[in-house]
């Protein structure tokens, strides 16, 4: 009965990234703590490397210095000739690609966990980039089950134009971890505890897999990105309406056509158009004002994964 298994190579090299955005403090301080004392992230036979990805932004407690590090891991930027004139984050991306990649090569790290925070009320969120990745679907299923009753959502960013060139995409299996709500430049104990648990369960999953445990077929519910929605703006491009109080903090909850979305500064309500129910995420995220994103619309999908087992056993 081994034919229905996806037999995969054992996992050897894992990295945990913090500070890809320098003002998202949970990952910054978990990684700094693990650099001092990494006992809790070690697993037998597995290399686990904690790493601060954007040290200059961390030092300034700002998202980035010249440009968003989490958008420059495309082959064009990674292939640019190294020069002092390149934006700091592009130079840094090439260093990271050198240390943990090269991207799309045999030598790259197996898994990179990239730790982020959001000001949105998204709770524990795992970000998936590929809907056909049985290994990660199995891992996310394990993390969700282990965290229950604490909810853990899966955000799928597989989209021809909306998928972006993430820092973690250097690895064979990229995993985004996003926990909120937490203001930029603030470290909350409750959020720290949740992120720490997500990493613990993820590493336990890898350990079990490497030990030869078989994971039977499973399904998970995911939220697939449809489109980004900008704030209404006036003629000069300034924001003319804000997230409606009934939408604020309602990430992952169904938003029906006609439901309030924005409130203008004159007090008028702007409802959701169209004719389908959507699930909003990243509602009122601080870092997305400059990206012209008030929230993103998603639809719910169910993903299936085949049984997996490490090929060594």
């Amino acid at each position: 009965m081994t034919s229905c298994h996806v037999a995969e190579d054992p996992i050897k090299k894992v990295a945990i990234f913090g500070g890809t955005h320098g003002n998202e403090l949970t990952g910054v301080f978990l990684v700094k703590h693990w650099l001092e004392n990494g006992a809790e992230i070690q697993r037998t036979g597995l290399e686990v490397k904690p790493f601060i990805t954007n040290p200059r932004a961390v030092k300034k407690c700002t998202r980035y210095i010249d440009c968003d590090l989490n958008r420059v891991f495309d082959l064009e930027n990674l292939g640019k000739k190294m020069s002092e004139d390149l934006p700091y984050e592009v130079r840094r991306a090439q260093e990271i690609n050198h240390l943990f990649g090269p991207k799309d090569s045999e030598d790259s790290y197996d898994i990179i966990f990239d730790l982020h925070n959001t000001t949105s009320n998204m709770g524990c969120t795992l970000i998936l980039e590929d809907s056909r990745n049985d290994f990660l679907i199995q891992m996310f299923h394990y993390i969700k089950t282990s965290l229950a009753p604490l909810p853990c959502y899966v955000y799928l960013i597989e989209h021809p134009s909306l998928k972006y060139a993430t820092t973690r995409s250097v690895a064979k299996y990229p995993v985004g971890i996003e926990v909120g709500p937490q203001p930029q430049g603030v470290l909350r104990a409750d959020i720290l505890d949740q992120m720490r648990k997500m990493i613990k369960h993820a590493l336990d999953f890898i350990h079990n897999f490497n030990e030869g445990k078989e994971f039977p077929p499973c399904t998970i519910e995911v939220y697939n990105i449809m489109e980004k929605v900008d704030y209404p703006r006036n003629e000069s491009g300034e924001i003319a309406a804000i997230i409606h109080p009934t939408l604020q903090d309602q990430d992952w909850k169904p938003l029906h056509p006609g439901d309030p979305v924005f409130l203008t500064l004159d007090g008028k309500t702007i409802p959701l158009g169209g004719d389908c129910t959507v699930y909003p995420v990243f509602v009122n995220e601080a870092a997305y004002y400059e990206k012209k994103e008030a929230f993103a619309k998603t639809t719910k999908l169910t993903l299936n994964a085949k049984s997996i087992r490490s090929s060594l056993h």
Binding site: H244, N284, A286
Partner: protein, 319 residues
């Protein structure tokens, strides 16, 4: 230490300032809205001037560009000779002093209301100089009575013997409004609506006073800072722990000796070792990490505020 006593004539020149810190969005959006729609801050006896206090920091969505503007309104900064290398905020403080000051002069604005946000769970908090600041305290009382179901606490911010360095100190009377919790760079509708209502009520109070309304004496409860507490740190100066979950979001609630205040990354708790109960505020405020402040310890006090006499109908100058 209050250099300007209770006003004896109507307040005609009133400023409402937002964006003193460029990532505290409620005041920024309120002021910007008023700059486009100037009818809202008008009252029969005066018209409040909206001022975007730190436009460069607001454009960058940062607290400040060169140094904290709201620590720059001392006479030393305001009267210093300009140098090409001055931080932006020193230059801007001098501009604001020309616009709504000059500080300690008869030509200064009658009142400044300066609008701020905090990431701490402080709800609305009004910062006035001291317990002798009768006009501002009557204004606080008015705001508290407008929506008694919503918390609106008063904080006495003057440090005895120290010159005030806040923006509102350049007017004859003033007050700072803090509203939270709101992340930096985020505009929440609930807090925006609350701030707008508080500012409208403050302008209504000034109008009431200008119309010759007398206000009775009352007992006021307020908080006063005793000291501040830094985060636990590693030898390298990095954070070694966080605000304890049992203290997080509990601004103004009593903190008793022996209660946990920090949780170390290694797992153990740090307890409050003071001898008396205090009331912590600005718990886990983002802007205070760089100042080495995890929270302030305050004491709660009660005092009497005397009646505010009505302006004489044809007031020119007091006797």
């Amino acid at each position: 230490m209050c250099s300007w006593p209770v006003p004896r004539e109507p307040l005609r020149r009133v400023a409402v300032t937002g964006g003193t810190h460029g990532n505290e969005m409620s005041g920024i959006y309120l002021v910007r809205h008023w700059l486009r729609a100037p009818g809202e801050p008008q009252r029969p006896s005066f018209s409040a001037t909206p001022v975007l206090a730190n436009p460069a920091a607001t454009a960058a969505c940062r607290c400040y560009v060169g140094r904290d503007l709201n620590r720059t309104f001392t006479s030393a900064f305001l009267t210093a000779t300009a140098h090409p290398g001055d931080p932006y905020e020193v230059t801007r403080a001098q501009e604001l002093n020309r616009l709504v000051g000059p500080k300690d002069s008869g030509r200064a604005f009658a009142f400044i209301l300066d609008l701020h946000n905090t990431t701490a769970n402080m709800a609305a908090c009004l910062f006035v100089d001291n317990a002798h600041d009768a006009f501002a305290l009557h204004l606080c009382r008015h705001l508290q009575l407008q929506s008694p179901e919503l918390p609106c606490r008063v904080f006495l911010s003057q440090v005895p013997g120290k010159e005030s360095f806040h923006l509102d100190s350049i007017a004859k009377n003033g007050m700072t409004l803090e509203l939270g919790p709101q992340p930096q760079g985020v505009l929440r509708a609930d807090l925006f609506t609350r701030m707008r209502a508080l500012v409208a009520a403050a302008l209504d109070f000034i109008e009431l006073f200008n119309q010759g309304t007398a206000l009775p004496a009352f007992e006021m409860e307020a908080y006063r800072s005793l000291s501040f507490v830094d985060f636990p740190r590693t030898e390298a100066g990095d954070l070694a722990g966080t605000v304890h979950p049992q203290l997080q979001d509990r601004d103004f609630e009593p903190l008793r000796p022996g209660a946990p205040i920090f949780q170390m990354f290694s797992g153990e708790d740090v307890l409050y070792e003071g001898e008396s109960t205090v009331h912590p505020v600005f718990i886990n405020e983002a802007a205070y990490y760089e100042k080495g402040i995890a929270f302030f310890q305050t004491e709660k006090l009660t005092f009497s505020v005397p009646a505010l006499p009505a302006l004489a109908p044809t007031t020119t100058r007091g006797p």
